[in-house]
Symmetry: C2
Subunit: 265 residues, 2 copies
């Protein structure tokens, strides 16, 4: 248990009125090509929406990124679209300087009471234990990419793009956790599916900009390292999807996402 | 070229005012467990939104199904969220009897002018030619499942669930086309990713109800048969994702979707 969490602090929202919240977007989640990682921005939105819907877990979230987020003040508005028995649906928008930067629809529910058929035709990525892996950034800061000071990545071997030798295949597997010791939950998973490096860097491209992101949260994660698998199968005319899986320390799939993105540079 | 298309007729929308449309939901797209297939209902919404946004192609659509659609009159409202250079973002809702049945966010653009890096790490399903395959329903109608009179499915061998012997693996590959000869386009692809049978029928379950559906349209399809691949990897506590790919007659991936669904029955 940590006294304070960077993630919780930086995604905190303050309700101003019914369906109206304030948040402060910090400079601690800068990522490749953007001062504000989209998944981090979405985390604040999901926290506001959880408050409005009164259900504990985001279960399916679809976010559309309209403008790149900026460090500074932001207003968040929420709408309860439908309150059903098992699921509640809501909508959320984040504004900065009067401009809408992000809009999302989401279903929330209580993952602790969902029950029924379980059958998984997949397995966690095969990775050596985290202690036998390499810290991707060796604990070093990277100017502008402040997210690497918040999120720790452990890889079996450094990916090709980090040494100027992209492999030609846009896929990777790695461990991930928040550096401050904050354990994963169903809110942070919505951010973390967007916290990896773009898999397309292995194709030798400069970067990628997320257009839309859909996340399914499939379970409450156990404490510990998260095993991640990322894969882009189709780059077509400069657009690509990216599929991301997160498995918890007990080997259960807890989140999967697909994003649509534009190659940049 | 057909004089009249069932799909075009049944998804037609009439503009009443700026951002306000009327449509008639017909009984010709009934599917397993629902009188109105969700993908069909979404087709009308996407046509209304295309009109409002003034861009030819849906590129990414995320739909949330709030209530099961009903046969009868429906009102559709649209909102232009952002009109960018390459992409325009819009929102659409469909109402029946004053109740919101479906809400979606979507990015539209012009797929004929998108250009850039192309690299595909996947291949169309390996299927014998359609003429060497079997018509899933042998041209027979099925009471309540009127979609089989609109959509033709050709399979190498009938799936296990059709003969009471589910295989235990929620995956399938098959050919698909509209029976009336209407050729696929980027609008109908948004409906067709939801027009297959639920892959989870191979797990011996009774059926499945779509909660949310995200579709990426990756290219304009060539005329002819569509090769489809469907796979559910994670059934967890009665919820599952379903991934769907559509490849056109030239072997190009033209659509991929992921839905989140609840097992029923």
């Amino acid at each position: 248990v940590t006294a304070s969490s960077e993630y919780d602090d930086d995604t905190a929202v303050t309700q101003r009125a019914e369906g109206s919240f304030h948040t402060r977007v910090t400079d601690r989640w800068g990522a490749l090509g953007t001062p504000v990682n989209g998944g981090y921005l979405l985390g604040s939105c999901v926290r506001a929406l959880r408050h409005s819907l009164g259900r504990p877990d985001p279960i399916g979230v679809s976010a559309f990124f309209l403008q790149p987020g900026q460090v500074g003040e932001a207003e968040i508005t929420t709408e309860v679209v439908r309150a059903g028995r098992r699921l509640a649906t809501g909508q959320v928008s984040l504004f900065q300087g009067g401009t809408e930067m992000l809009r999302a629809l989401a279903d929330f529910g209580d993952l602790s009471v969902l029950a029924g058929h379980t059958q998984v035709d997949n397995a966690p990525p095969e990775l050596p234990p985290p202690d036998d892996c390499v810290d991707l950034t060796a604990g070093h800061s990277i100017p502008g990419i402040s997210i690497v000071d918040r999120v720790e990545y452990r890889v079996e071997t450094p990916p090709g793009w980090t040494t100027g030798q992209p492999s030609g295949r846009a896929a990777a597997a790695f461990w991930m956790r928040l550096r401050d010791g904050r354990q994963p939950d169903t809110i942070s998973l919505v951010s973390l599916v967007d916290a990896g490096w773009p898999a397309v860097l292995e194709l030798g491209v400069a970067g990628s900009s997320t257009v839309q992101l859909s996340v399914h949260v499939r379970g409450r994660p156990e404490p510990g390292w998260l095993a991640c698998r990322v894969h882009t199968q189709h780059v077509i005319a400069g657009m690509h999807e990216e599929d991301f899986e997160i498995w918890d320390s007990k080997g259960h799939l807890v989140a999967q996402s697909r994003q649509l993105a534009l190659l940049t540079g």
